[in-house]
Amino acid sequence: MSKNQANRNKSYEKYVNSKVPKPNILKNCLWAFFVGGIICTIGQVVHNLIESIYKYTHLDTSNITTLVMIFLGAFLTGIGVYDIIGKKAGAGSLIPITGFANSIVAPAMEFKREGYVMGVAAKMFSLAGPVLVYGISTSVIIGILYYIF
């Protein structure tokens, strides 16, 4: 690329950035805060119910709550509701574990037509895969650091 082109591209980028519509950050944050909060509150209610009814240990209860929340995320994805929530809530429904369930179930549903092996199974982790790889890697690194210090 010549210097002229590079300059032209640079000034065009600046011009475009000045015209790009800006998202309403406050409104988006409020949506994310409240929807994320509701999801977490539901999680807490499930946790308390399981703990008081079935008398599991605290750790077991956490694991079961996680399972329930994953089921809810997957179920709402399956009936076509989670994408509508996600459109409004953004990170509010993306970050909780229900969002993680959504990122696995959505491609699994989408690629069912390509078969259960190369479609569902192969594409299932196309969105969640990077989260798993870097999530697990980070936890291993932090574990090592914790062990040393």
């Binding site: 032209r8 591209n9 640079k10 065009y12 980028e13 011009y15 475009v16 015209k19 790009v20 519509p21 800006k22 998202p23 994805t77 399956g78 076509g80 989670y82 994408d83 929530i85 996600g86 459109k87 809530a89 953004g90 429904s93 993306l94 969002g99 959504n102 990122s103 179930v105 959505a106 491609p107 549903m109 989408e110 690629f111 037509r113 969105l127």
Partner: protein, 340 residues
């Protein structure tokens, strides 16, 4: 010698082919938009009774070609060529439609510029004496495009404000060496233009410079002025891209204010239908021309238009490899009657 070529990139057709028929088929969202009364078929089910989005899109093309032919009582066997393209890998929907249509087939890829690319090539083939009747098609499907270029449909993510909504539908035109118009009189073939935009969710900004380049070249080559046209309409620049293209052209001294429009803006009611920056996809220019504009030309409510379909030539691979978005725009002049 290229006796029909004028200027640097334009062809003036000696025997302008006539667009004798068109047909359109669109999905429910497009059917709910402001141009709904101009479409031939509005589907309630965007799977069209098929079991995949790609097959549905293929059926759009098949049915649109058949319907355009039946309007002028022609058969598939009367067609010399089928020229068309879509957005999918290996032109899946067009190739599979061509498998059942059984017309000699040229598959083309110019992304969303397919509609005018097909019309350009068809017009030149007919003017050159290589064919009498040609069908052109361009199609796209929101759901088949999403799964190839973006995210699974049920994924709970937010679309950026600059993104556009892929039009679900197919538009077809039937070109003939004789007929009563509207006629394709000029063809300006675009060059690939790239101003370095890398954001695949902002294709309007990526494509605007290519539309500007082709429109400027067309006006220089032909000597036409913007006011010679009733409408100069781009394919799918969307709200942001249209604004940018307009400003760029006005900066160059062209007064576009009364004539410049965009199919991607016309097809949806953006406020109500929540598309963000308007429509996109091959079907955007194809159905807006074959539906709305063709009818206006036929009724002589407008007499001369420049249709400039714009294509962003990115691929999912090129985006991942950090490449910018190359773009192209092809223009055709369509006139309701011939003047000497």
């Amino acid at each position: 010698m290229a006796i029909k070529k004028i200027g640097s990139q334009t062809i003036k057709l000696f025997n302008p082919p006539s667009i004798i028929s068109t047909s359109t088929i669109v999905g429910p969202k497009e059917g709910d938009g402001p141009l709904s009364k101009y479409f031939d078929t509005i589907l309630q089910d965007d799977l069209y009774g098929e079991d995949s989005w790609e097959k549905a899109e293929s059926k759009f093309i098949e049915e649109a070609v058949k319907s355009a032919l039946s309007k002028v009582r022609l058969n598939l066997s009367d067609m010399d060529y089928l020229i068309g393209g879509d957005l999918l890998n290996q032109l899946m929907s067009t190739s599979f439609a061509a498998r059942s249509l059984q017309i000699p087939f040229f598959g083309i890829y110019g992304a969303c510029s397919n509609s005018t690319e097909a019309m350009s090539l068809a017009a030149m083939l007919i003017d050159g004496g290589y064919a009498d009747k040609i069908a052109t098609t361009a199609s796209s499907h929101f759901s088949s495009a999403e799964r190839q270029y973006r995210f699974p449909l049920e994924s709970g993510n937010q679309r950026p404000l600059t993104s556009q909504w892929t039009v679900t539908g197919a538009g077809t035109t039937i070109l003939s060496s004789n007929g009563e118009g509207p006629y394709i009189t000029h063809v300006t073939t675009g060059k690939v233009v790239d101003f370095g935009i890398k954001d695949a969710a902002n294709m309007g900004a990526a494509m605007a410079p290519s539309a500007v380049d082709t429109i400027k070249t067309h006006l220089n080559d032909t000597g036409f002025k913007p006011e010679d046209y009733d409408i100069i309409i781009t394919g799918d620049l969307g709200i942001l891209g249209h604004e940018i293209a307009m400003e760029m052209l006005e900066k160059e001294g062209y007064n576009m204010s009364n004539v410049f429009k965009d199919c991607g803006i016309e097809i949806f009611d953006n406020e109500r239908q929540d598309t963000h920056c308007g429509g996109s996809g091959c079907a955007s220019s194809a159905v807006v021309f074959s539906g709305y504009l063709y009818e206006q030309l036929k009724a002589k409510k407008i007499n001369k238009i420049l249709l400039v379909a714009t294509g962003a030539l990115l691929s999912p691979t090129s985006s991942l490899q950090g490449e910018s978005i190359p773009s192209i725009a092809h223009a055709v002049t369509i006139e309701s009657k011939l003047r000497n």
